[in-house]
Symmetry: C2
Subunit: 388 residues, 2 copies
């Protein structure tokens, strides 16, 4: 079927970005004043872990291939930090690349993955990309038990559960009971657990719970240096797998897709792990401050972690539709992410990342758009001005 000029049909509905619907408008918009649609940071990485700090003199051959499982010193450092055997580690191009390898390796055509919603948009896209079926399970905004929430979506084609804690977009975290119930459910129904824990170190007051502690035999943990150490552009993360054999399968799929992660990005990650603790402490505190402040202004629950607010603007719509909202945002050079990208149920939500723009800017300008997003959204005279 996919002979020229036809294309593979299972990709036809795949999105190239959560904002595909408005791609033309965004293209014509020019540089956004507030690119709050993407999970990134205004901070630069810790000094010592920037590219300019990595020299051929100190790392001879650093522009050459490294081991496909990962730069050996980085793999050793991860092994020590996470108390896990070397052969259970695979370095991946961000958690995105890691999740993709899981899907590529464990999901057959038409097989299903339960994705706890609202969810990181690429979780669904990645499953779709390999010919699987992402099944959105409303979870973070519900009060029922894990079993009650998940059981209706279970079929004989279900192979895995994808869960992201701390959660993008809600900022919520699983508590111990939820983790226990989820691992019990996975074990009972013999499902893999794909635990996306990329915000593990961006937790503000509570304690992050590692899923793999509760179901080590079936859990793949996804981590990333992107969010924790402010180096999303480096494309470096890693997977911890339940045993050497499964990780070996992922490595095969890695070699036969992107081959390996940039050697320099891995050295940067190694240095961030070794010298980034105080930087991370500072970043977490700064993120928390803006997280709480913006939550309070918008009357949202304070997030437990991550870098996002997920905000139901239904009460403010007054009959306007969401497309209109996003088009007005784009006209104001303000990008926020449509809730529908995080699960079909969330069409009246918006997600925005509160760590994208430096908070120091927000008092400065006379133009309301030069202020911080939430100030802009909520401040006198322009309350929802962008929606009007």
């Amino acid at each position: 079927m996919p002979k020229p000029p036809n294309l593979n049909t299972h990709l036809s509905n795949l999105r190239g970005s959560p904002y595909s619907k408005f791609a033309e408008h965004i293209k014509n918009m020019g540089t956004p004043t507030y690119p709050l649609h993407i999970g990134d940071t205004y901070l630069t990485p810790v000094k010592g872990a920037c590219m300019e700090d990595l020299t051929e003199k100190q790392y001879p051959g650093m522009h050459r291939y490294t081991k496909t499982v990962g730069y050996p010193d980085l793999v050793r450092e991860i092994s020590e930090c996470y108390c896990i055997d070397l052969d259970q580690i695979l370095v991946t191009p961000g958690a995105t690349g890691g999740l993709f390898l899981l899907a590529q390796t464990f999901v057959g055509m038409g097989e299903e993955v339960l994705i706890l919603a609202p969810y990181w948009p690429l979780a669904a896209g990645i499953v779709q990309n390999v010919g699987g079926k992402p099944v959105s399970v409303p979870f973070y905004d519900r009060d029922l038990s894990v079993s009650d929430l998940l059981s209706p979506y279970l079929t004989d084609k279900t192979v895995a559960i994808y869960v992201n804690t701390p959660n993008n977009p809600t900022g919520l975290m699983l508590n111990e009971k939820q983790v226990t119930d989820l691992t019990t459910f996975a074990r009972k129904n013999n499902l893999w657990i794909w635990a996306d824990e990329v915000y593990e170190k961006l937790v503000f007051d509570d304690c992050h719970i590692e899923m793999k502690t509760y179901a080590p035999e079936r859990t793949f943990s996804l981590y990333s240096f992107s969010k924790v150490f402010g180096m999303a552009g480096n494309r470096c993360g890693f997977i911890l797998g339940p045993n050497a054999q499964t990780v070996r399968y992922l490595q095969k799929s890695a070699v036969n897709s992107f081959y390996s992660v940039s050697t320099a990005s891995q050295i940067a990650a190694l240095r961030a792990l070794k010298m980034g603790e105080s930087w991370l402490g500072y970043a977490r505190e700064a993120y928390k401050q803006i997280a709480y402040e913006t939550a309070d202004i918008l009357d949202l629950p304070r997030p437990q972690g991550s870098t996002f607010h997920f905000w139901d603007i239904k009460p403010y719509l007054q009959g306007r539709d969401m497309d209109d909202v996003f088009l007005r945002c784009i006209a104001a050079k303000l990008l926020i992410a449509p809730g529908s990208s995080f699960g079909a149920q969330y069409s009246t939500y918006v997600r925005f990342c509160y760590t994208c723009a430096p908070p120091g800017n927000r008092e400065r300008g006379s133009d309301p758009l030069e202020g911080n997003l939430t100030r802009f959204l909520m401040s006198d005279g322009v309350r929802f001005g962008f929606l009007s």
Copy 2:
């Protein structure tokens, strides 16, 4: 089927490296004295395009996400260098990542890709990784017409032809008649052409012919900064597609697999393109000298391009088997690639990369292994010593 602890069956036979068979031995070997099994270089990238040359001051936000189609200035530079529209370009993690996106996008389960052999091992692995069937077509070592060579392998499941020119492993290049015949064959049978031209600028005397000039409507050209500019570890290459729509599909698959290429790697690539011309001239001349010299010593045809010799050692085997050869190489801390990885027909061949070790070393030592591989192989008293 792939529920815990089972794994996806179509990956079971996938190799994690061309040397999988000897993985345990290699693991125990320690650092090889001659890692000539992989296509890499002893040179460091051009000054100005090393990671240490890329500063946050000059490239603010260089550790953050960039556009998923590619770093805008790099995409513009490629557009100018290759005379192609911006929306026909996608930056990929090396040509490996590019070929993977083609397979992921255009090959359905069980569909076939004709791979002109001997071939780069990952070409087959990548097709297999997406559930397709790689069909090895002996080509570079045959004298028949394109149509005679390819027709016997054509089925109603064939969707594409993969061709690599200059060729890894043979160092041969397609001439104009071959290119014309190949594009005619592809057009007649309505196949995509995947033209892997990563060695395009490592051509010693002849002229490289771009496949896409002859069949622009169906050709995807794969390029890489890895080989040409000595930065394989950076994982940066690009695809040029026949039109915006097909490239858009590849971008969707990219976003939903590895997301994008390292921002810093793309800036390094941009700088290599802008300032690498004389470095490249030097590298090409140095590679050519060692290519010709080693070919003459081994009585092999002088390669037209690439960085490899493909050598049939059958006449020297005298009843020994190839496993024995490779195990003796490993014992001598010498890694060369088994011919069988380049097509089942080539089991008595070995491939070695002549640009991996600095030629300056070869006169120095008293230990024959401290000399250049071919000197070692051929020099007085140790002729095939490593095989004996």
